[in-house]
Amino acid sequence: MLPFTGTVAVTGLNATDNPGPGLAVVRALRADPRFQGRIIGLAYDAMDPGLYTPNVLDGAMLIPYPSAGREALLARLAWCQQRFGLDVLIPTLDSELPALCDQEPLLESMGIRTFLPTRAQYDMRSKARLDELTAHGVPVPKAVPISDPSTLYTIHEELGGFPLVVKGVFYGATIAWNVSEAIAGFHKQAAEWGLPVIVQEHVSGEELNVCVVGDGDGGIVGAVPMKKLMLTKSGKGWAGVTIDDPGLMEMAANTIAALKWRGPCELEVMRDDRGGFHLMEINPRFPAWCDLSAGAGHNLPMAYVDLAMDRTPHLPDYRVGTAFVRVSINQIVDVAAFEGLSTVGETASLTSDDLPEGGDMPSPTTIRPLH
């Protein structure tokens, strides 16, 4: 297999307690011996923690928030291309995709390759439309998008009674055990994410996740299933382990086939007490645990780079029983590391070993002048 020596740009470096997936994608690429290229971090904030992780990024640039629109993003990518010479772009946040789906020809004309879903595929997996997959034999809890909270007085009759799950259109969910809780949940989600709010049948069981890369023709290029072993208060996985469940993988295959999904995604699946599988959500990008795929020997971010570059991915079977345990650490940097991103919005290197002499927290006398 030929090494990859190009330059990859990765977004989603907000590695907080609810981390963006960017740092996991970067770590997966760095873990692959075939990856001998450069990685440029694309961030929304100069304080995104992933920017300051040692020895992973070769440079970084701030990009406009998705709300600024496609033109602003493309203009910034063009500048980034001029500065760093990008070959591949890996967007890792849901909100970035509407501006990038169906833009492959334009991005390619700029010299930037992607391997992303079409806009139609992106829309089809939305929470409001997910239950259309039941027509393709994929079990999905019944869900109804609503914009009027008065609907909540009767909707439980349609969804099999309480409890119900009241979901924000992009993120967030509240379990409601009665009408009052459902109405409170509606206003909470609507205030945070806007309308519609999705009301979904509740399914209890064991949550499982699958990180998948689809080939765009209905097939799976690679997939790694994971069971969360430890959750944060907001339900995010803080530890997990690769598992081997043929039924889960069959559901993943059926889902990807039904959508003809192209590119990376995460399937959130519930296994009920009788062993039945229910597709709860599809996240249209790599999950924040996708470096587990590299650890298990089935490097899906590297497969993305291969597919974007029209190469054949090299994906040996993943190892069952490979676990990840997340950690919070304090990254010690010289305050001068903030300079480039804070002033001109870019920097060539954030990760040089430029700790002040002695290796301790920089004191005022050891901080270099910014200008």
Partner: protein, 89 residues
């Protein structure tokens, strides 16, 4: 292998009694007695053979061993590691 012990056969069991279920991702520990019973079930042994193995290793009253083995099998059924209709005979 006994019919219905497929899940048990998939378990990864270390010498220290640490067990990983590759289907569910669950981990748990078993003591020497539990490991002897699980290994007996995986080998397709019947109740008398498993009780004999336990007696060889731990030298207990056979009636107690038989009762405790059946209780352990019930727990394995409850945990979903044996089919709900599995009976050790």
């Amino acid at each position: 292998m006994n019919a219905g012990t497929d899940r048990l056969s998939q378990l990864a069991i270390s010498a220290s009694g640490f067990v990983f279920d590759p289907r569910s991702g669950a981990t748990f520990t078993v003591n020497d007695t539990g490991r002897t019973i699980i290994e007996g079930l995986r080998d397709g042994n019947g109740l008398d053979d498993i009780v004999a193995s336990l007696d060889d290793a731990f030298a207990c009253d056979r009636a107690d061993l038989k009762r405790d083995t059946l209780e352990y099998v019930r727990q394995l059924r409850d945990q979903g590691l044996l089919p709900t209709d599995f009976e050790l005979v």
